[in-house]
Amino acid sequence: MSIADAVNIRDRAAERQAAAAQEAAATGAAADGPAWSNMKAPDARSQQSATVAITNGRRALTVFLTNPNALFGAGFLAFVILVALAAPILYPEDPLSMVARPFLWPGQDPAYPLGTDGLGRDVLAGILHGARISLFVGLFATVLGLTFGVLVGATAGYFGGWVDDVLVRLIEIFQTLPSFVLLVVLVAIAQPSATTVTLAIAIISWPTVARLTRAEFRAIREKDFVVAARSLGYGHGRIIFHEILPNALPPIIVTSSVMVATAILMESALSFMGLGDPNVVSWGSMIGTGRELVRTAWYLTALPGLAIVFTVLALNLIGDGLNDALNPRFSQDR
């Protein structure tokens, strides 16, 4: 259940590259050119691991803005955000309260365009309010996971040695535990609430970022411009934040949009299983309650599901668009 898995290949690839680069540096064989350029196995998102692309912001923006898929994604996401902000104004009453006759089908009553559920709750109100929790969890889990992951990955990748060994072990442990099972355990132990769900998703998503960041840092650390920085006596902080991080950022940015999508999927799956915040309506919990009635009132399952699919799709389209814009080599193939 983790989209972010897809990102793993690229950092495996980058790791191998870094190892190859180190070896080349060690044997002094750098003049032989890159050993086995096909060692950099590609992945679904990007082939451009740590080759330090020459991209400037404006060019990337142009590419992104001329990509219809990415624009559609961005547009739809903006719409969802707007809806989430407007929900309390449009439907000020609690979406969990009964407002009408149960089992109104969509279109049956213009006051309830998407119908009502088995308890007479307004489906549209539920979906609009559900956007709030999805985006909240998606955004904050990503910010937390990203921050922690980048810190750990950067530390491991930059310093290497025993620090790296220890941190890699930690990452490996978290990547070996099946992430969704761990998520279920964490939320079950901590008692479901918006905060615990967010924290738990952050806990299971940081290793992916950490691994990616580490691989990028390891590869970029070997580049001559970083060696030059060391030879000029720059401090660690300056090298990490001024020299390496800006170059490691593009894949991390791409990953972050995928992470938001993954977090939304995770939250919905948790709520579907009854492990969401019980006081808040969410798309997953709507599907969860709708599923008992799937034989008769399948629209109760279908509609919130479509909301998830389109929101996640929008984020993934943005991710692809960012990837094309930030990693120019890959965009030629598209």
């Binding site: 898995d5 096909n38 679904a44 099946p178 599907i287 692809d320």
Partner: protein, 328 residues
């Protein structure tokens, strides 16, 4: 011969490498168990209905639950060494046995889903790569991205609506016709009928991953120097693709297949709930509902073992496919 030697060497390295990870997971597991609200004594007392503080305390000392944490960790490790994952009061049987009953169901589901995902994914990806940048590629790209965005539990429910409720072609849940007493091929077909929908729901997401991966991988390999050499030899495009591109392009895909076992286990939890499939996932769901943490953590531990085993298997496969591995 060389391939065999490579494989053996890789196996040894992989296993040695897995030991500290495994220890880390066990310790983590233990502390999670400590964090869980209530303990087995509370649960049993709760089940019994009438519990006094004294009787609970008695239960605690009987199970060693009042010992210091480190002693308890020692006990836990000792139990694990004897393949004991604890006792589930709710099911009235040892957790290991409980999991043992459910494991085959999940494995069958996962293997079928993985097979569907890899086959379909590679075909789609190869098609996309062949038409890179043109209409079929664009369409398939959107489709795969859609697969990538659909929650498996939702597509599961939608498939039920379509194929069981509306069309009535396939069963909506369970793992076999109850009381049918089929054997041999008919039994197999019966199971297969029950498995189509859950396996498809679980696979779709991974179809998308493998399709995108194969596409990227093939495009990458296509631009490699050795492919140019192959063309310079006068080989046909078919021969170049089948003998030179494909094998190199599949290497990253073998790597990924192992990494997905963990993810698939997670997906199975949700899909099994949807289809009442009697596997680990459903067990996990029931354990959550009952707040039976012993079972839940047993599942977590065991599934981690499964992931480690899968990774080892993939490393071996990898070593066999890629001659460069042994050199490292």
């Amino acid at each position: 011969m060389a391939a065999l030697l490579r494989t053996v060497r890789t196996l040894r390295r992989t296993l040695l490498h897995a030991i500290p990870t495994l220890l880390g997971i066990i310790v983590l597991n233990f502390f999670l168990l400590q964090l869980a609200p209530g303990d087995a004594a509370d649960v049993m007392a709760g089940e019994a209905g009438s519990a006094t503080t004294e009787s609970v305390a008695a239960l605690r000392s009987r199970f060693g639950l009042d010992n210091p944490v480190l002693v308890q960790l020692g006990d836990y490790l000792n139990n694990l060494a004897h393949f004991s994952l604890g006792f589930s009061p709710r099911y009235g049987m040892p957790v290991a046995e409980l999991i043992g009953q459910r494991l085959p169901g999940t494995l069958t589901l996962m293997v079928s889903a993985l097979a569907i995902a890899i086959l379909l994914g590679i075909v789609l990806g190869a098609l996309m790569a062949a038409f890179a940048g043109r209409i079929p590629d664009r369409l398939l790209s959107i489709v795969s991205l859609l697969f990538y965005s659909i929650p498996s539990f939702w597509i599961g429910l939608m498939l039920i609506v379509l194929f069981s409720v509306k069309l009535g072609w396939l069963p909506s849940g369970g793992a076999g016709t109850i009381g049918s007493r089929l054997t041999g091929l008919p039994a197999l077909l019966d199971t297969a009928r029950y498995m189509v929908l859950p396996a498809t729901s679980l696979a779709l997401f991974y179809v998308a991953i493998y399709a995108r991966l194969t596409r990227a991988s093939m495009l990458e390999v296509k631009n490699q120097d050795f492919v140019r050499t192959a063309y310079a030899k006068g080989l046909t495009p078919f021969r170049v693709t089948s003998r030179h591109i494909l094998r190199n392009a599949l290497i990253p895909i073998t790597t990924m297949a192992g990494m997905h076992v963990g993810g698939m286990l997670g997906g199975a939890v949700v899909v099994e709930t949807v289809y009442s499939w009697p596997g680990l996932g459903r067990l996990a769901f029931e354990a959550v509902m009952a707040r039976d943490f012993t079972v839940l953590l047993g599942i977590l531990l065991l599934s981690s073992l499964l992931v480690i085993a899968a990774n080892a298997a993939v490393d071996l496969l990898h070593a066999w496919v890629d001659p460069r591995i042994g050199a490292r």
